[in-house]
């Protein structure tokens, strides 16, 4: 049962090279084995890092001008490679610590928070701003827990899961280790909506990153405007 998963096999999963049977088997292991999951995350982040390190731009003068023109607007975007790198290095350097944390991890929501959500209109916006595997783990557990719960009148809680910044990377096709679980959660919970910030997606595309979102992910005009609207409508805000 605890058969060793080779790096080549994990790499082939990240690169979407596995047959449906192989993939199903590996997805099962990724879902149940934290060390395999951590290795898959690490490989996936490395792939994102490679993509961030080389741009499909030829004319350096033109690139500098374009970059300068968007200096302010793209400040978040320019932090993305650093954020990915930082989380890669962190995951790589402290893998054992990460796994220890995994075992004692809670769902990220306290009993008090859940009670307040149940009693308070049963609408929650869950915000993911990071692509750190640990954060995503927590976000997925929160989403599942919230979407499975009912409010005090027995109605399902409506959950919007919105990602921006580097969090958007985890909603992309191309081997995200969380893809299967996102799809499974979305299919299992009609009251769960998964959204990506279109501004972040557009900025990535401007940089030449081919962004394709998972089929279960919808685009929101911007995370900021959605959050502002939801908060003004009385939704509860939870950051993963």
């Amino acid at each position: 049962m605890s058969q060793e998963i080779s790096d080549e096999l994990l790499g082939a999963y990240i690169d979407e090279e596995l047959s449906p049977e192989e993939k199903a088997h590996l997805v099962e292991r990724i879902a149940t084995d934290a060390s395999v999951r951590a290795r898959a995350c690490e490989l996936w982040q490395l792939k994102q890092l490679m993509r961030s390190a080389y741009r499909p731009v030829h004319d350096t003068g033109k690139a500098a001008t374009r970059h300068g023109a968007k200096n302010t607007a793209s400040s978040l975007l320019r932090r993305l490679p650093m954020a990915i790198a930082a989380s890669l290095l962190m995951a790589a350097g402290t893998l054992s610590g990460w796994l220890a944390h995994e075992r004692q991890e809670i769902d990220g929501l306290s009993v008090q928070q859940m009670n307040a959500i149940r009693a308070n209109g049963s609408r929650v916006v869950l915000h993911l701003v990071s692509d750190e595997p640990e954060r995503m783990e927590t976000a997925l557990r929160m989403a599942d827990k919230l979407a499975s719960a009912q409010d005090t009148s027995g109605q399902p809680i409506h959950v919007e899961f919105i990602a921006n910044g580097s969090g958007v990377h985890l909603l992309r096709t191309g081997g995200s280790p969380f893809a299967e679980r996102l799809i499974a959660h979305s299919n299992a919970h009609p009251n769960l909506q998964i959204l990506a910030c279109r501004q972040t997606v557009d900025r990535l595309r401007e940089r030449g990153v081919a962004v394709e979102l998972l089929s279960v992910v919808q685009e929101a005009a911007s995370a900021e405007s959605l959050l502002a609207a939801r908060l003004s409508q009385g939704w509860r805000y939870v950051q993963a």
């Binding site: 030829h58 320019r78 081919a210």
Partner: protein
């Protein structure tokens, strides 16, 4: 009519090549880490693609076809260098290098670290990982482009990723110490 059609097709083909240029240049740069050489490689590749355009039967395969032509140009260049015998053994130290001009993008220290780590990979590994990660080629396509077995693609890719993870784990302080010693 047929002449017009021919001109139109040729123009369309040239447009398609033009659209591929930025990606090709990125790939060339990821292999050579040299801007002038990347310019030359892309130019040679596009010129050869124009000459050989009838060989491309499936337009969907344009990108991997171009990558294949560029890999041949690149290997021809390496072969012309007498000291090179095995592509898989070629590391960054054997290639012409340059300090890229600092622009806003390259100031990102992590990007430099990644590029440096990629540059230190043996060339065979570097070619495979860039084709898979940057060009999003399938393993079978990489095998065709580089004319190597799929198993070799997988093993080179796995070794490249292992080496990159290892290099990127090195504390930043080590790189800083090297930098200081160079300045002295």
């Amino acid at each position: 009519m047929s002449l017009l059609s021919f001109i139109s097709r040729t123009r369309r083909f040239e447009e398609m090549l033009g659209e591929c240029r930025p990606r090709l240049w990125r790939l060339a740069y990821s292999w050579s880490h040299n801007r002038a050489l990347s310019d030359d490689l892309v130019q040679d590749t596009l010129a050869k693609a124009l000459i050989k355009r009838k060989q491309l039967r499936d337009p969907e395969r344009l990108n991997s076809w171009l990558c294949s032509i560029m890999a041949n140009c690149w290997h021809d260049y390496l072969r012309q260098r007498r000291d090179v015998t095995d592509i898989d053994d070629v590391a960054e130290a054997d290639l012409p290098t340059e300090e890229s001009p600092e622009d806003g993008y390259l100031q990102n220290q992590m990007i430099r670290r990644v590029r440096q780590a990629v540059g230190e990979l043996p060339l065979g590994q570097r070619e495979v990982i860039t084709l898979v990660d940057l060009e999003e080629c399938s393993y079978a396509a990489v095998a065709t482009i580089l004319n190597i077995p799929v198993g070799t693609v997988m093993s080179r890719l796995s070794r490249a990723r292992y080496a990159l993870k290892d290099k990127l784990r090195e504390p930043v302080a080590v790189a800083a110490v090297h930098k200081i010693s160079r300045v002295k």
